[in-house]
Symmetry: C2
């Protein structure tokens, strides 16, 4: 199995880096090939713009998904996008490793999705959810929080972690056809202490060792929404 | 009243730009002062890193919120962050104008939040929600979608738009104390046609003209979660 870990943290000594390294170790010991995209180390460009494309579909009006389709069809994707898309396409398992910043991904990781999840390559017209082009791949989110576990839950201040991650789980990973595995959440990291962090690393290793037995998160199916198939409307062309 | 519109779209002729201009016009006609942060035109840097700070709290381990607090206390914020933070702090109304990309904000806008929502300036220890430092400000999200309105809803493929926007509404805007007004959503923009777009612009103008009469979205209160106040835990220090 090929695994891709996309890691987004500015501090090489961070606990996020330790979680990344634990995942590399567990997966390699299982005999898998692991690639890591360290977005900060790569100085990854997160902003979608015309520099993303060597081709040009419309010089007057910049429409992201139409430019993506033109570039995809004519080898016009910028080198960094093409390289990351290759990694994504050959991965059987995608792990997104990041700290929860403002209830979401750091901008550099959101930009990896905005730029690498190319229209026509990972989704298209009616190619979403169980028809998505990344069907058959599995995806796992591993996130750290500064807030304590009791800040998350149905009646807690921040709501449930699954609700916070729903736009990513449902709108990115399941949307493109991936099977979404339960996330691993390391809570209250800045206050966990050395023992707490060591325990979480062991817990994450066990989580990864149990992936094959893990029930994926329930996700919607396009087939249950036939009205959306008529016309084959395409998302994010605005 | 001072209004700040933060606008994030790569195409100057986009419908997002038309919505931005409609808001400027409505608010100025009401006698308000309006500032616009056009993140693409500014070539805004969305990635949090050490270049954000002229000061240094810890040269060995980069902790974003601790560096933010150090910089805030000693005039060490990078010029672009300080300038945007000034705009945010003098705004009575914040409007975020963006296309829904992958069920969320474009990376350049997420990065504006990651960098400008400085620890100690917009939130701190127990300064969240009704104790947040942006208390008294109102916030409005105006978003465009490529998907049709029937793709959104409790039983729809994409879920409800309020669920998709919850991390932003609750985790960013309400978290810092802002009153969150109902969003304006322009659906199916690429397929709306000239008449449909003109109708949405009028609809948005009416939405803005009705702001003062509009009931804000219900948000949690820190006072209802007293356990979190003990110790005054601080978010996103990981």
């Amino acid at each position: 199995m090929n695994a891709l870990i996309v890691y987004a943290h500015p501090e090489p000594q961070s606990f996020n880096a330790a979680l990344r390294d634990a995942a590399v170790d567990v997966l390699e010991k299982q005999g898998h090939a692991v690639e890591v995209s360290d977005l900060y180390a790569m100085d990854f460009k997160p902003v979608v713009d015309r520099r993303d494309f060597l081709t040009c579909h419309d010089a007057e009006h910049f429409n992201v998904s139409l430019e993506q389709r033109q570039a995809l069809a004519h080898g016009g994707l910028a080198a960094d996008i093409a390289s990351e898309l290759d990694r994504l396409q050959r991965a059987d398992l995608l792990i997104l490793q990041f700290p929860l910043w403002w209830f979401g991904m750091p901008a550099i990781l959101k930009g990896w999705i905005d730029r690498v999840f190319v229209s026509g390559a990972v989704y298209g017209r009616s190619a979403m959810f169980e028809r998505g082009k990344l069907l058959g791949k599995r995806a796992l989110v591993c996130v750290t929080t500064g807030a304590p576990v009791q800040a998350f839950g149905p009646d807690a201040l921040n709501g449930t972690i699954l609700d916070l991650l729903a736009p990513l789980h449902r709108g990115v990973l399941a949307f493109t056809g991936m099977t979404v595995l339960p996330p691993y959440v390391a809570y209250h990291v800045p206050y966990a202490g050395a023992e707490g962090r060591a325990a979480m690393l062991l817990d994450y290793r066990a989580h990864l060792q149990g992936l094959d037995a893990m029930a994926p998160l329930p996700m919607p199916r396009l087939a249950d929404h036939p009205a959306l198939l008529e016309g084959g409307k395409r998302p994010r062309a605005q």
